[in-house]
Amino acid sequence: MPQNFFCNLPDRSLQGKPARITLFVGAYGSGKSEVSVNFAIWLAHHVKQPGQKVVLCDLDTINPYYRSADARAILTREGIELIAPIYANTNIEVPAVPAAIFSVFDNESILAVLDIGGEDLGARVVGSLRDRMAGQDIALNVVVNPYRPATDTPEGIQMTVDALAAAAGLQLHGIVDNANLLELDNQPHLIDTLPIVARASQLTGLPLLFATTLGRNELLIQAFERLAAVAKESPAALAATKLPILTMTRSIHYPTDPFALV
Amino acid sequence: MQDVSIVIAGFGGQGILSAGKFIATAALLEGREVSWFPSYGPEMRGGTANCSVVISDLPIGSPVINDADVLIVMNGPSLDRFISHVKPGGLVIVDSSLVLNIPDRKDISLYRIPASTLAVEAGNITFAIIYLLGCLAKQSGCIQRESFEAALTDALPTRHHHLIPKEMAVFDIGGTFLNEN
């Protein structure tokens, strides 16, 4: 079990020592790639020690678009190495798994984030790497966006988690709440739906690891304080009040967006 | 000489389309401009068939005939369909063995030839159309006898060439009929 990132108000930023290799799985559109890129950046800033390097592996074999390889420029700037299928971001849709993926298992000095393709189908690629993962310090986390159909109820999230675990053939370690409707400021959405995700955490027995926001922290803290006020009535909401936050920057855009990759 | 536009119509199998080709070939052999435009499609298989032949000394505009100089018909429905498209002063040649009711038009020349009956009597039903073509050649002057004979030789397979003298005799008989209007 990896370290959890629980923290106290008012500083809700991620802390602690994560697993050496973190995998993000999730349903289509849950925001796995966005979370992966930002988590890798957080690792680079807060966890990486001298002699270590952070590697982001784009293992999405399902969908050739909106993938973490889109953030190549930002990753390069942050000194993060990207491993992606050789045809990622070309005209070709051959989602071959890059052999370099093995480096994250073979090289202890790597802190790795693995961005896995959508749904249980994408998680199947994890199955082909199962042998390599044995004995490694690994966290397999599921990213949830409660604004997406199928993961908009605690039960829906539970079913999704079960399907992902079955396809990957591995036990999941935790849930990431990535509530968003794509707009810049997702805090209201996060507050509105946190109880759903928190309840799913109880149902599945998987800890709620962190939530993500694109917005301003002070607003978020106010909102959490409001949530804490009603927390006594809901154990799920109570859990939420302790939730650490990953403040994200947008990095994966459709290439026509003039602000992409700036 | 002026353009001649000829519509030939009847049932499929009566040699309608071939008759058009004979006329067109004969005119071509005389060095004239010519077009042959068939009705095709479902009509080709068992239903009615018709074709349009235009002969001219100048390049031909439309191969599609709206107003015909000559109408040759071998069944009733075709006559009903095309009779109103014959120009005033035009020529209508009818197989009267098969077409009984002929609409009353006094502004045309009308030739009624019991072609199918005559052809059966002559021992070959395929001759029927030849009587009508003989009449066409004689009355319109659009093709010469010699070029028609040459066209038959050209168009018919060698194994049928022995029929040509008999067909030419039939052709000549067709030319003996008189205007009934």
Binding site: T61, I62, I92, V94, G117, L121, R124, V125, G127, S128 | -
Partner: protein, 248 residues
């Protein structure tokens, strides 16, 4: 010491882009080795399919053309008709050949086109990410048969070799596998035989090659080979389906 196993000159220097453990690479090498051994590299024209191997024209050192999905047999037919003295092969996957291109392969075989088809069957669509193929096994889970292939809903797998073998124009049809040394050796012999049949002008030849897809099967490469033996061999028995007595 002499080299007894080297990279064949039938391949270009370009490294394959396939996933680790994907056996397309073995099949490419076998075809390339046979072309060199038969001295036909300079006269062979290959037809690339649509699928993971769409750009294998970059790997084979002979003249190559990329065909639309399923149409390789039609393209190959025409090339052979234009250059009857040349050798023509098509390289096709199970979606390409047995789904969208079912008509083309059947008719090329029925016409007895003097081309050789190498049909790679891995029971799944690789390129478009793991959908059900015509050859997907009963019960096999794919992205488009998430409940496992159910005969009553998705129907049955197609045994292409058995089907093509019913056609008189197909003079040589064999199913092989590339799961271990002896089967790979047999596969190479079959590929050579297919080319020999073409060279002799006898008619259409096809070798169906059972292959793996570790990524979309969700199994590591070694386990994938075992799954091929355990699951695929039952549905797709190896052997010669036409041309048992053929001497070429």
């Amino acid at each position: 010491m002499k080299p007894v196993f080297t990279r064949t000159t039938g391949l270009t220097d370009k490294p394959f882009h396939y996933c680790p453990g994907c056996t397309h690479g073995i099949i490419h090498r076998l075809i390339a080795e046979v072309m060199v051994e038969m001295n036909i590299l300079d006269t062979t024209i290959g037809v690339s399919p649509v699928g993971c191997t769409y750009n294998n024209y970059e790997y084979f050192a002979c003249d190559m053309i990329q065909a639309a999905h399923g149409r390789a047999p039609a393209v190959g037919t025409a090339i052979k008709r234009v250059h009857p003295e040349n050798m023509v092969f098509t390289y096709q996957g199970d979606g390409d050949l047995a789904a969208i291109g079912a008509a083309e392969i059947v008719h090329a075989a029925a016409r007895g086109e003097k081309i050789s088809t190498f049909f790679v069957n891995n029971a799944v669509y690789g390129m478009t990410s793991g959908q059900m193929a015509p050859t997907t096994l009963i019960g096999q889970v794919t992205t488009t048969s998430p409940f496992g292939r159910r005969p009553e809903f998705e129907g049955y797998p197609i045994n292409v070799s058995e089907m093509i073998a019913t056609l008189r124009g197909a003079v040589y049809v064999e199913r092989v596998a590339v799961n271990d040394f002896s089967h790979i050796t047999k596969a190479k012999k079959a590929i050579k035989k297919a080319f020999r049949v073409q060279q002799e002008g006898l008619g259409f030849s096809m070798v169906e090659i059972l292959s793996t897809c570790p990524t979309n099967w969700g199994k590591d490469p070694v386990a994938s080979l075992r799954w091929m033996e355990d699951a695929m061999f039952k549905q797709y028995p190896l052997g010669i389906y036409r041309g048992q007595d053929l001497e070429v």
